[in-house]
Protein backbone atom coordinates (compact mmCIF):
# COMPACT_ATOMS: atom_id res chain seq x y z
CA UNK A 1 0.00 0.00 0.00
CA UNK A 2 1.82 3.11 -1.21
CA UNK A 3 -0.91 5.72 -1.05
CA UNK A 4 -1.25 7.73 2.15
CA UNK A 5 -4.57 8.82 3.60
CA UNK A 6 -4.23 12.33 2.08
CA UNK A 7 -4.46 10.74 -1.35
CA UNK A 8 -7.05 8.13 -0.46
CA UNK A 9 -9.50 10.73 0.82
CA UNK A 10 -9.97 12.16 -2.64
CA UNK A 11 -11.75 9.00 -3.75
CA UNK A 12 -14.15 8.94 -0.80
CA UNK A 13 -17.47 10.24 -2.00
CA UNK A 14 -19.52 9.93 1.16
CA UNK A 15 -18.78 9.34 4.82
CA UNK A 16 -20.06 5.76 4.59
CA UNK A 17 -17.33 5.01 2.04
CA UNK A 18 -14.71 5.55 4.71
CA UNK A 19 -15.80 2.51 6.68
CA UNK A 20 -16.29 0.24 3.72
CA UNK A 21 -13.03 1.13 2.04
CA UNK A 22 -10.51 -1.72 2.32
CA UNK A 23 -7.66 0.41 1.11
CA UNK A 24 -8.09 2.71 4.09
CA UNK A 25 -8.32 0.00 6.73
CA UNK A 26 -5.25 -1.79 5.35
CA UNK A 27 -3.25 1.39 5.21
CA UNK A 28 -4.26 2.51 8.70
CA UNK A 29 -2.91 -0.74 10.13
CA UNK A 30 0.49 0.04 8.66
CA UNK A 31 0.89 3.82 9.00
CA UNK A 32 0.69 5.60 12.36
CA UNK A 33 0.84 9.10 10.87
CA UNK A 34 -2.19 8.34 8.71
CA UNK A 35 -4.04 6.85 11.69
CA UNK A 36 -3.66 10.16 13.55
CA UNK A 37 -4.62 12.15 10.50
CA UNK A 38 -7.61 9.96 9.88
CA UNK A 39 -8.84 10.39 13.47
CA UNK A 40 -8.56 14.13 13.05
CA UNK A 41 -10.46 13.90 9.80
CA UNK A 42 -13.36 12.07 11.46
CA UNK A 43 -13.35 14.51 14.41
CA UNK A 44 -13.36 17.43 12.01
CA UNK A 45 -16.39 16.13 10.13
CA UNK A 46 -18.20 15.47 13.40
CA UNK A 47 -17.46 18.97 14.72
CA UNK A 48 -18.55 20.65 11.49
CA UNK A 49 -21.80 18.67 11.37
CA UNK A 50 -22.51 19.42 14.99
CA UNK A 51 -21.82 23.13 14.45
CA UNK A 52 -24.17 23.16 11.50
CA UNK A 53 -27.00 21.76 13.59
CA UNK A 54 -26.62 24.70 15.98
CA UNK A 55 -26.99 27.22 13.14
CA UNK A 56 -30.74 27.53 12.71
CA UNK A 57 -33.64 29.94 12.56
CA UNK A 58 -35.73 30.48 15.66
CA UNK A 59 -39.13 28.77 15.43
CA UNK A 60 -40.83 32.14 15.44
CA UNK A 61 -38.74 33.39 12.50
CA UNK A 62 -39.19 30.13 10.60
CA UNK A 63 -42.96 30.55 10.94
CA UNK A 64 -42.72 34.20 9.87
CA UNK A 65 -40.71 33.32 6.76
CA UNK A 66 -43.22 30.64 5.85
CA UNK A 67 -46.09 33.06 6.38
CA UNK A 68 -44.40 35.64 4.09
CA UNK A 69 -44.03 33.07 1.31
CA UNK A 70 -47.61 31.83 1.51
CA UNK A 71 -49.30 35.20 1.88
CA UNK A 72 -47.32 37.01 -0.80
CA UNK A 73 -45.92 34.42 -3.22
CA UNK A 74 -45.64 36.87 -6.13
CA UNK A 75 -43.16 39.13 -4.38
CA UNK A 76 -39.59 38.21 -3.59
CA UNK A 77 -37.71 39.51 -0.57
CA UNK A 78 -36.16 42.32 -2.64
CA UNK A 79 -39.60 43.49 -3.86
CA UNK A 80 -41.00 43.28 -0.33
CA UNK A 81 -38.05 45.26 1.02
CA UNK A 82 -38.46 47.83 -1.77
CA UNK A 83 -42.13 48.24 -0.82
CA UNK A 84 -41.19 48.61 2.84
CA UNK A 85 -38.60 51.26 1.89
CA UNK A 86 -41.14 53.21 -0.18
CA UNK A 87 -43.65 53.08 2.67
CA UNK A 88 -40.99 54.18 5.17
CA UNK A 89 -39.91 57.12 2.98
CA UNK A 90 -43.55 58.19 2.44
CA UNK A 91 -44.18 57.97 6.19
CA UNK A 92 -41.06 60.05 6.89
CA UNK A 93 -42.17 62.75 4.40
CA UNK A 94 -45.66 62.83 5.93
CA UNK A 95 -44.14 63.11 9.40
CA UNK A 96 -41.94 66.03 8.36
CA UNK A 97 -44.84 67.88 6.67
CA UNK A 98 -47.28 67.32 9.54
CA UNK A 99 -44.70 68.34 12.18
CA UNK A 100 -43.94 71.48 10.14
CA UNK A 101 -47.63 72.34 9.99
CA UNK A 102 -48.01 71.68 13.69
CA UNK A 103 -45.13 73.98 14.56
CA UNK A 104 -46.50 76.67 12.26
CA UNK A 105 -49.92 76.47 13.91
CA UNK A 106 -48.34 76.58 17.37
CA UNK A 107 -46.47 79.71 16.45
CA UNK A 108 -49.67 81.34 15.23
CA UNK A 109 -51.61 80.47 18.35
CA UNK A 110 -48.99 81.33 20.95
CA UNK A 111 -49.03 84.92 22.34
CA UNK A 112 -45.38 84.46 23.12
CA UNK A 113 -44.47 84.14 19.51
CA UNK A 114 -41.99 86.65 18.15
CA UNK A 115 -44.29 87.89 15.39
CA UNK A 116 -47.10 88.55 17.76
CA UNK A 117 -44.83 90.36 20.20
CA UNK A 118 -43.61 92.45 17.38
CA UNK A 119 -47.18 93.21 16.35
CA UNK A 120 -48.14 94.18 19.89
CA UNK A 121 -45.12 96.44 20.22
CA UNK A 122 -45.98 98.09 16.92
CA UNK A 123 -49.57 98.60 18.05
CA UNK A 124 -48.38 99.95 21.35
CA UNK A 125 -46.01 102.34 19.67
CA UNK A 126 -48.81 103.39 17.34
CA UNK A 127 -51.02 103.91 20.37
CA UNK A 128 -48.29 105.99 21.93
CA UNK A 129 -48.09 107.96 18.78
CA UNK A 130 -51.84 108.45 18.89
CA UNK A 131 -51.65 109.50 22.50
CA UNK A 132 -48.94 111.92 21.62
CA UNK A 133 -51.14 113.34 18.89
CA UNK A 134 -54.04 113.68 21.31
CA UNK A 135 -51.79 115.33 23.86
CA UNK A 136 -50.48 117.64 21.18
CA UNK A 137 -54.02 118.46 20.10
CA UNK A 138 -54.99 119.33 23.64
CA UNK A 139 -51.92 121.43 23.98
CA UNK A 140 -52.68 123.24 20.78
CA UNK A 141 -56.27 123.67 21.84
CA UNK A 142 -55.13 125.10 25.12
CA UNK A 143 -52.73 127.29 23.33
CA UNK A 144 -55.60 128.41 21.16
CA UNK A 145 -57.59 129.06 24.27
CA UNK A 146 -54.72 131.00 25.64
CA UNK A 147 -54.55 132.89 22.40
CA UNK A 148 -58.30 133.48 22.66
CA UNK A 149 -57.87 134.65 26.17
CA UNK A 150 -55.37 137.13 24.92
CA UNK A 151 -57.81 138.21 22.33
CA UNK A 152 -60.48 138.50 24.95
CA UNK A 153 -58.24 140.53 27.12
CA UNK A 154 -57.41 142.72 24.21
CA UNK A 155 -61.08 143.05 23.46
CA UNK A 156 -61.76 143.79 27.08
CA UNK A 157 -59.14 146.50 27.04
CA UNK A 158 -60.63 147.98 23.88
CA UNK A 159 -64.04 147.85 25.41
CA UNK A 160 -62.77 149.40 28.61
CA UNK A 161 -61.17 152.11 26.61
CA UNK A 162 -64.36 152.75 24.72
CA UNK A 163 -66.33 152.92 27.88
Amino acid sequence: MNRHIDDILIDLDKKEDIYSNNEISEHLNECERCRMLFDKYLDMIEVVRHNTQSIKLTEEDADKVFHNIITNPQNGVSEQKFKIRVIAIAAAILLIISSGLYIFKLQQKSPESIDEKHLISILQSEKNEDLDIIKDFELFSNLELIENLDELEELKEVLDDEI
Binding site: L9, K15, K40, F66
Partner: protein
Amino acid sequence: MFKVLKDLRQKGFDYLNLSDKELIDRFIRGDDKAFRFLYERYVNRIYSMAYRFCRNYETSKDITQEVFLRLYQKKERYNPVISFNTFFYRLAYNCILNYLRDHKEQPIDEWSMQQITTHPASPEENLFATESARRIEKIIDELPERQKTAFILNKIEGLSYNEIAEVMNLNLNVVKSLIHRATLKVLEVENE
Protein backbone atom coordinates in the same frame (compact mmCIF):
# COMPACT_ATOMS: atom_id res chain seq x y z
CA MET B 1 -41.72 21.62 15.20
CA PHE B 2 -43.08 24.74 13.55
CA LYS B 3 -46.54 26.04 14.31
CA VAL B 4 -47.70 25.59 10.72
CA LEU B 5 -46.98 21.88 10.88
CA LYS B 6 -48.49 21.42 14.33
CA ASP B 7 -51.72 22.87 12.95
CA LEU B 8 -51.63 20.50 9.99
CA ARG B 9 -51.03 17.44 12.13
CA GLN B 10 -53.89 18.38 14.38
CA LYS B 11 -56.07 18.36 11.27
CA GLY B 12 -54.88 14.87 10.42
CA PHE B 13 -52.31 15.59 7.71
CA ASP B 14 -49.00 13.88 8.26
CA TYR B 15 -46.64 13.63 5.29
CA LEU B 16 -43.52 13.03 7.36
CA ASN B 17 -43.02 9.56 5.95
CA LEU B 18 -43.16 10.72 2.35
CA SER B 19 -39.94 11.12 0.39
CA ASP B 20 -38.83 14.47 -1.03
CA LYS B 21 -39.85 13.29 -4.48
CA GLU B 22 -43.35 12.33 -3.34
CA LEU B 23 -43.73 15.67 -1.58
CA ILE B 24 -42.64 17.74 -4.57
CA ASP B 25 -44.90 15.67 -6.87
CA ARG B 26 -47.88 16.38 -4.61
CA PHE B 27 -46.93 20.03 -4.41
CA ILE B 28 -46.74 20.34 -8.21
CA ARG B 29 -50.20 18.75 -8.43
CA GLY B 30 -51.50 21.58 -6.23
CA ASP B 31 -51.22 20.15 -2.72
CA ASP B 32 -49.85 23.11 -0.75
CA LYS B 33 -49.65 21.03 2.42
CA ALA B 34 -46.76 19.10 0.85
CA PHE B 35 -44.88 22.39 0.54
CA ARG B 36 -45.16 22.88 4.28
CA PHE B 37 -43.47 19.57 4.95
CA LEU B 38 -40.73 20.29 2.42
CA TYR B 39 -40.24 23.60 4.16
CA GLU B 40 -39.81 21.99 7.55
CA ARG B 41 -37.40 19.44 6.15
CA TYR B 42 -35.12 21.92 4.42
CA VAL B 43 -35.49 25.32 6.07
CA ASN B 44 -32.60 25.01 8.51
CA ARG B 45 -30.35 23.26 6.01
CA ILE B 46 -30.77 26.16 3.60
CA TYR B 47 -30.49 28.68 6.39
CA SER B 48 -27.25 27.19 7.77
CA MET B 49 -25.76 27.02 4.29
CA ALA B 50 -26.65 30.67 3.67
CA TYR B 51 -25.30 31.57 7.09
CA ARG B 52 -21.94 29.97 6.36
CA PHE B 53 -21.54 32.39 3.45
CA CYS B 54 -23.07 35.54 4.96
CA ARG B 55 -22.47 35.20 8.70
CA ASN B 56 -25.50 37.39 9.30
CA TYR B 57 -28.79 36.21 10.77
CA GLU B 58 -31.13 38.61 8.98
CA THR B 59 -29.45 38.22 5.60
CA SER B 60 -29.45 34.45 5.83
CA LYS B 61 -33.12 34.58 6.77
CA ASP B 62 -33.86 36.69 3.68
CA ILE B 63 -31.93 34.30 1.44
CA THR B 64 -33.82 31.36 2.92
CA GLN B 65 -37.11 33.08 2.18
CA GLU B 66 -35.98 33.84 -1.37
CA VAL B 67 -35.01 30.20 -1.98
CA PHE B 68 -38.36 28.83 -0.80
CA LEU B 69 -40.21 31.55 -2.62
CA ARG B 70 -38.51 30.53 -5.87
CA LEU B 71 -39.44 26.93 -5.19
CA TYR B 72 -43.03 28.03 -4.61
CA GLN B 73 -43.14 30.12 -7.78
CA LYS B 74 -41.18 27.81 -10.09
CA LYS B 75 -42.17 24.35 -8.89
CA GLU B 76 -43.13 23.33 -12.45
CA ARG B 77 -39.50 23.68 -13.48
CA TYR B 78 -38.54 20.68 -11.37
CA ASN B 79 -37.26 17.89 -13.57
CA PRO B 80 -38.09 14.46 -12.05
CA VAL B 81 -34.98 12.98 -13.72
CA ILE B 82 -32.74 14.64 -11.14
CA SER B 83 -33.17 14.28 -7.39
CA PHE B 84 -35.05 16.95 -5.47
CA ASN B 85 -31.95 17.39 -3.31
CA THR B 86 -29.86 18.40 -6.30
CA PHE B 87 -32.58 20.61 -7.77
CA PHE B 88 -33.16 22.43 -4.53
CA TYR B 89 -29.51 22.91 -3.53
CA ARG B 90 -28.86 24.28 -7.00
CA LEU B 91 -31.64 26.79 -6.47
CA ALA B 92 -30.16 27.73 -3.08
CA TYR B 93 -26.62 27.93 -4.42
CA ASN B 94 -27.70 30.32 -7.18
CA CYS B 95 -29.61 32.50 -4.70
CA ILE B 96 -26.58 32.71 -2.40
CA LEU B 97 -24.25 33.52 -5.30
CA ASN B 98 -26.61 36.24 -6.55
CA TYR B 99 -26.78 37.71 -3.11
CA LEU B 100 -23.01 37.69 -2.61
CA ARG B 101 -22.51 39.36 -5.99
CA ASP B 102 -24.97 42.11 -5.13
CA HIS B 103 -23.78 42.67 -1.55
CA LYS B 104 -20.01 42.53 -1.38
CA GLU B 105 -19.83 44.65 1.77
CA GLN B 106 -22.10 43.30 4.47
CA PRO B 107 -22.13 43.25 8.26
CA ILE B 108 -20.99 40.07 9.96
CA ASP B 109 -22.56 38.92 13.22
CA GLU B 110 -20.03 38.88 16.05
CA TRP B 111 -21.85 36.25 18.01
CA SER B 112 -21.68 33.66 15.27
CA MET B 113 -18.55 31.91 16.52
CA GLN B 114 -19.80 31.91 20.09
CA GLN B 115 -22.82 29.94 18.98
CA ILE B 116 -20.61 26.97 18.25
CA THR B 117 -20.65 24.45 21.05
CA THR B 118 -19.94 20.79 21.46
CA HIS B 119 -20.93 18.16 23.99
CA PRO B 120 -17.70 16.73 25.47
CA ALA B 121 -17.37 15.00 28.81
CA SER B 122 -15.10 17.24 30.90
CA PRO B 123 -14.51 21.03 31.12
CA GLU B 124 -10.95 20.54 29.78
CA GLU B 125 -12.32 18.66 26.82
CA ASN B 126 -15.01 21.30 26.50
CA LEU B 127 -12.39 24.05 26.16
CA PHE B 128 -10.38 22.02 23.68
CA ALA B 129 -13.41 21.01 21.68
CA THR B 130 -14.76 24.54 21.53
CA GLU B 131 -11.39 25.95 20.52
CA SER B 132 -10.99 23.21 17.95
CA ALA B 133 -14.50 23.83 16.62
CA ARG B 134 -13.80 27.53 16.30
CA ARG B 135 -10.51 26.91 14.51
CA ILE B 136 -12.21 24.58 12.05
CA GLU B 137 -15.04 27.04 11.47
CA LYS B 138 -12.55 29.84 10.87
CA ILE B 139 -10.72 27.79 8.26
CA ILE B 140 -13.96 26.85 6.51
CA ASP B 141 -14.99 30.50 6.63
CA GLU B 142 -11.78 31.53 4.87
CA LEU B 143 -11.95 28.90 2.14
CA PRO B 144 -12.43 30.17 -1.44
CA GLU B 145 -16.10 30.30 -2.44
CA ARG B 146 -16.18 27.18 -4.62
CA GLN B 147 -14.09 25.09 -2.22
CA LYS B 148 -16.34 26.12 0.64
CA THR B 149 -19.53 25.27 -1.27
CA ALA B 150 -18.27 21.89 -2.40
CA PHE B 151 -16.92 21.08 1.07
CA ILE B 152 -20.17 22.05 2.83
CA LEU B 153 -22.36 20.17 0.37
CA ASN B 154 -20.25 17.04 0.67
CA LYS B 155 -19.19 16.89 4.31
CA ILE B 156 -22.22 18.51 5.91
CA GLU B 157 -25.17 18.05 3.60
CA GLY B 158 -23.99 14.64 2.45
CA LEU B 159 -24.31 15.20 -1.29
CA SER B 160 -22.29 12.94 -3.56
CA TYR B 161 -19.60 14.25 -5.90
CA ASN B 162 -21.95 13.77 -8.84
CA GLU B 163 -24.77 15.68 -7.16
CA ILE B 164 -22.38 18.51 -6.29
CA ALA B 165 -21.18 18.62 -9.90
CA GLU B 166 -24.84 19.08 -10.92
CA VAL B 167 -25.50 21.71 -8.27
CA MET B 168 -22.40 23.76 -9.06
CA ASN B 169 -22.45 23.04 -12.77
CA LEU B 170 -18.87 21.75 -12.71
CA ASN B 171 -16.93 18.78 -13.99
CA LEU B 172 -16.79 15.80 -11.60
CA ASN B 173 -12.99 15.91 -11.32
CA VAL B 174 -13.06 19.61 -10.52
CA VAL B 175 -15.48 18.89 -7.67
CA LYS B 176 -13.23 16.11 -6.33
CA SER B 177 -10.27 18.42 -6.44
CA LEU B 178 -12.12 21.27 -4.70
CA ILE B 179 -13.25 19.04 -1.85
CA HIS B 180 -9.86 17.41 -1.49
CA ARG B 181 -8.04 20.74 -1.31
CA ALA B 182 -10.53 22.08 1.24
CA THR B 183 -10.22 18.92 3.36
CA LEU B 184 -6.43 19.09 3.36
CA LYS B 185 -6.48 22.75 4.38
CA VAL B 186 -8.70 21.97 7.36
CA LEU B 187 -6.53 18.99 8.35
CA GLU B 188 -3.30 20.99 7.95
CA VAL B 189 -4.45 23.59 10.44
CA GLU B 190 -5.67 20.89 12.78
CA ASN B 191 -2.18 19.40 12.71
CA GLU B 192 -0.42 22.67 13.67
